[in-house]
């Protein structure tokens, strides 16, 4: 099963409501995925600053004085905003790599959920409504975002096994389905220098696309390559700093519905997820074709 929701705003007036709209969509997909939930929000870049979203099983201990400790390590100011088990660190853009390696030494138990100019990822085990409330997703603003409710098949129900997966700067991917050749593809990607946090099949798909983008391929082409190189069932929804993409495998068992108006492009695993969007009554609503890449970039 699993549920996916996604929203790419064309009308900037909706940006303050992105989190609220996505939260509503995410909760409608609870019975497709009650194990864990996650959300990636592209909330915009601040001049000269990047964001690293981190997670800890012991946030009181790990996040205490983390900003100061990182400041000492990289010699530049770092701010921290703690949200439950996650925290968003704002770091000067030139110091992102330095901050990540310092973090690995200073707090080895802390996991990096995402890093980039605009992206923030929050994900945890539990019901979507509880996960959304815990991170106050409904208060978040942004240009586009992707959410996922997981019913686990390929690997354990853990925070790190929740979607979205981020394997490159400002990139994320969510998945409905299961891949059958992920072990082979993972081995190949490791050989090419990609690193993995889990044994999860979806992380392999995320890393596969990140690797293509690193090689300089455009998003559309990277998504196209999943159709030839990944075997199994999938509907993927992918986010980049400026873009939002969708692709389904050629058999297309995993349901998907899209809607577009002058104000937004929306994705839902089921139409139920889209029913409260403004103007849905007159939106163009369609089922994305199998083996066809859709993407929008601003």
């Amino acid at each position: 099963m699993c549920g996916i929701v996604g929203l790419f705003l064309k009308d900037p007036k909706l940006e303050p409501k992105l989190g609220a709209m996505l939260t509503d969509m995410l909760i409608t997909m609870t019975d497709r995925g009650p194990d864990s939930a996650g959300i990636a929000i592209y909330s915009g870049a601040k001049d000269g600053l990047g964001k690293i979203t981190v997670q800890s099983a012991e946030p009181e201990k790990d996040f205490k004085d983390l900003d100061g400790d990182l400041h000492d390590a990289i010699g530049q100011p770092v701010t921290i905003l703690v949200k439950s088990s996650h925290a968003v660190l704002e770091v000067p853009l030139g110091q992102m790599d330095a901050a990540r390696s310092a973090l690995a030494h200073l707090r080895p138990a802390v996991k990096v959920m995402s890093a980039g100019d605009s992206i923030e990822i929050f994900k945890e085990v539990g019901l979507p409504k509880d996960v959304a409330a815990r991170f106050e997703v409904s208060k978040m603003q942004g240009t586009h975002g992707i959410g996922h409710t997981r019913m686990a098949t390929e690997s354990a129900v853990t925070t790190m096994g929740a979607h979205p997966f981020s394997t490159g700067s400002d990139q994320c991917l969510v998945h409905n389905g299961s891949l059958s050749n992920h072990n082979g593809v993972r081995r190949e990607l490791k050989r090419l220098g990609m690193t993995f946090e889990t044994e999860n099949d979806t992380e392999v798909a995320a890393a596969f696309i990140s690797h293509k983008l690193q090689e300089g391929e455009p998003l559309g082409q990277a998504l196209e390559a999943t159709l030839t190189d990944l075997d199994g069932f999938f509907t993927f929804v992918v986010g980049t700093k400026n873009g939002f993409g969708v692709v389904r495998d050629p058999i297309a068992c995993k349901p998907a519905v899209m809607a577009e108006t002058d104000d937004f492009v929306a994705f839902g695993t089921e139409y139920r997820a889209l029913v409260n969007l403004p103007g849905i009554e007159t939106a163009r609503v369609w089922e994305p074709e199998p083996a066809t890449v859709y993407f929008w970039e601003r």
Binding site: P250, A252, P255, V257, Y271, R272, V275, V285, E287
Partner: protein
């Protein structure tokens, strides 16, 4: 007219009320408002009533329908009219995958497009699609008629038994053991009747269709192929 607000009263209450209608009833006209993509709307109805759903539906709307006429004033999610026994289901918009799957009887009309696996394993249902159908439609179809005014996707009629497939537009590819067959007078008569009952009379003429059916080569094991296994 019995009007039912699904948002307020809930699915269980709707389907219980519809299931309580047995045989002849005075409550023959029903309207369901605020469907909002909910699953299993009006599934398992067994009475000669007319139900109009004002909006789009989720999984399995009108599943197992017997006798009822069910109209969807929107699009339908996966498995609409799955295993229908009799009656009529008319969808104004599109239908998602496996519309009319395993249907044993009745008529399913889709005025928009149907996606993949339309009429998979159909066993006597008639399906009229005004638009296009997706890949693997009528897979293992056993009997009944599938009429498509638009185009068909890949692998139409794969491993087909005795269903008749009529397509007016292009067929991307035929599945295993599915071949084009001649149109005979009885086929024009079937089409004329189904186009009329499928509310497509003005849109297409019987002579514009081509017929596809089973080559019947998969019915029995061919001993000459033994070495292939």
């Amino acid at each position: 007219m019995q009007s039912f607000d699904l948002g307020k009263e809930g699915l269980r209450a709707l389907n219980s009320a519809l299931h309580a209608l047995k045989g002849q009833t005075n409550m023959t006209a029903w309207e369901v408002v605020n469907p909002k993509g909910a699953h299993a709307i009006a599934a398992g109805v067994d009475a000669p009533v007319d139900i109009t759903v004002r909006g789009s539906t989720g999984y399995y709307c009108a599943g197992m329908n017997k006798q009822a006429t069910i109209r969807i004033k929107g699009s339908a999610g996966p498995g609409v009219a799955e295993n229908m026994m009799s009656g009529t289901v008319i969808i104004d918009g599109d239908a998602s995958q496996y519309a009319g799957a395993t249907g044993c009887g009745g008529l399913l009309v889709i005025k928009g497009n149907a996606s993949s696996r339309c009429g998979i394993s159909m066993k006597g249902i008639d399906i009229v699609v005004h638009g296009n159908i997706g890949h693997m439609s009528a897979f293992m179809a056993q009997s009944g008629n599938l009429v498509v005014l638009g185009n068909a996707g890949e692998a139409l009629g794969d491993s087909l038994y005795e269903a008749r497939l009529f397509v007016r537009g292009s067929v991307k590819s035929l599945g295993a053991d599915c071949i084009e067959k001649e149109m005979r007078p009885e086929h024009y008569a079937i089409l004329e009747d189904l186009l009329r009952r499928g509310e497509a009379e003005g849109k297409a003429k019987p002579e514009e269709f081509r017929r596809y059916g089973s080559a019947r080569k998969l019915y029995n094991f061919n001993i000459d192929n033994a070495s292939a296994y």
